[in-house]
Amino acid sequence: MDLDDTPDQAAWRTEVRQWLARHQSDAPPARGDFEDPAYVEVRRSWQRSLTEAGLVGVTWPEEHGGRGRGPVDQVIINQEMARAGVPGHLDVIGIGLMGPCIIAHGSDEQRARYLAPMLHGDEVWCQLFSEPAAGSDLAGVQTRAVEQADGSWRLTGQKVWTTSAQFAAFGMCLARTDPDAVKHQGLTMFIVPMDAPGITVRGLRQISGEAEFNEVFLDDVTVTDDMVVGGVRGGWKAALTVLMFERMMIGAGAETIGFRPDRVATALAAAGADDPRVCHRLGELTAELLAVRYGGFRSLTALSRGQIPGPEAGLAKITTVNALIAAADLVCDTLGPGALTDEEWGYMTSFLPGLKSAGGTEQILRTTIGERVLGLPAEPRVDKGVPFRELRTRQIAEVAA
């Protein structure tokens, strides 16, 4: 029971820290505007430097360009980057989720073609999963992929909540290839070049006014048959791998989602430290955030022993988002209306409500955890065993009602 580095971890931390000490001055600012191609470009070249130093994809197997290290070593990189105040690699989605998916389900050709440019930031990836009518209910995706006589596929549909789409080279797209199958079984995963004819990317502005995400429209986009990942009708299985790696990213500690509780405390200390109400509210939310931090160390220990995190990893996200909402609320109550137009607190206030449903609503998460972790009985599923084609999303429920 300790949080200190093992000798091996300590050596790794030193290696990372020393490299950063030498190259920190080349790093771009940690926050910037991804709508600005120049900023994307400096971040891309920073990723390239990190990759050349062996600091990207360290948990990937060595044969695929990684270093076969454990998740704690990745966390050490994250900690050292944060400590140095420099950003990590640009392509978080690719390195964290899409690469592992290709490693797990891709063909040898796909691995050979895509992994190295991904690692180097030459080709950034995005995730084309969610749709306007398939968010929490991901298996309900309606984007159609129809096979052509020459074996190629034509994709048509609309994706949403896509990070990095505006500068990504490829997207990993979950599409329906067999509408006669029941909903989870008729899906296939495709690699889609984002510059293919028929693709339109549109920024999706959030409450804050910033376009954190994009909508991606696919209008008869043709991809060749070698772009299928994990086989035709193997889409759901590939998607589950991605969701599992998503949980691992959470488990490895996205502790404060970019917001720093020490800054909250500092702001409050300057403004309202003498009010016991402020102190009490700060105490409540701080205790929750500390719980997430130390719960994260528990998850990370399990992860480093090869245990795959279950859906309960989502509890940390629920706690974090709600504690940060409480923090933003407290700061604004204490600092007054001016806090809302302050860059840091106004952004925090505006950003968090959207985060509540990112990656599935809090309610779906709770349902999943109740059923999978606690073994509570499932709700009656009216869509079970029904071919997707017949699952006219509206009608089935009306029949059941």
Binding site: S130, P132, A133, G135, S136, D137, G140, V160, W161, L204, R205, Q206, I207, G209, F213, A271, G272, R277, C332, D333, T334, L335, G336, P337, G338, A339, L340, T341, G346, T349, S350, P353, G354, K356, S357, A358, T361, E362, Q363, R366, T367, E379, R381, V382, D383, V386, L391, T393, R394, I396, A397, A400, A401
Partner: protein, 375 residues
Amino acid sequence: MNFALSDEQEFLREAARDALGRVATLAAARDALEDPAAILDLWPVAVKAGWPGLLISEPAGGAGLGTFDALLVAERLGAVLARVPFIGLMPATALLDRAAHPCLEAVATGERRPVFVPARPPVSGAESWTVEDGHGRSAPAPRVIRSGAHPRLDGQAAYVIDAPDADLLVVAATDATGSPVAAVVDAMQVQPVAAYDASRSVGHVTFDNVPAELLDVDSAELTDAWYLVQALIAAEAVGTVEAALGVSVSYAKDRYAFGRAIGSYQAVKHEIVEVLRRLENARALQFYAGWARDSRPAEFPLAASAARSVAGNALDFAARAMINVHGGIGATWEHDAPLVFRRAQLTRRLAGGHADATYRVGQAVLHNPRLVTAA
């Protein structure tokens, strides 16, 4: 006992709804976040509806209606996030009317627009009258200086609702002894504040030893004006919550997930019902406040504070529930939910803030438990 709207009140509310229904207030609230030029001037709508004269007595050219009626109009303004300078207007007209000020007729016709600059009355005798300092702290209310031939006003107040572009300000100030006085000025500096909620006009006002006219109103009337602001904010929130509830209910009926309308899931249903519960509570207190100011003035501070506390929390909850029910799409710029959310967040921090209102309820009953003895 009759605790329901009269036919005239129903009519007033419908008329307000109609008048506002002809303007695209929500689109304007969104557009104005980026482009101040997109702000709609709704003053002509207010004048046409006769709202400036609502609380002004009939002989002075007003409609001579009551607090309850004013709250009904505020509720309708809240329902469509209309940028009508109503919260600043009503207490100003009430004070001018009490003092039988000569400008009343011009005010009632909408020719001159007065705005109230509120100051917080002390909770206990040891405290003083305060305003916002702009950083979440209290500052002394503006001071009236009587040294020269004419009284002059000096001081400032931050985040004053509806202050920008007013024709005259009715200021809750204090005299040399710290006693509250009402000062009317028309030579003020108002610095409009880029607001988080563009459907609300807010400004910092500065009085640099400017000439002021003192109104013949007393401390109780200035205290009452503060609580009237609280009640108006509450009523406005009731309208916003009602609108948010309506949108959330429709979406929950229409949107399907896992083969069922999402409103059939308990988690969604119960969250929406919680909005209803809070709405009903807020409306009950709106009624209480509206009735108390005219019929039980001694209870009005409690009623107005309770109304603001419950309605403010209801609005915050309703805005977040609206976003939650809509999933990710509810947090995007094009959706109306963020406008409700912005309204909730800014308004909770104005005019003393919702926490001050809650605190005042607690203080009131701690000092006089009989206020909550069952009738």
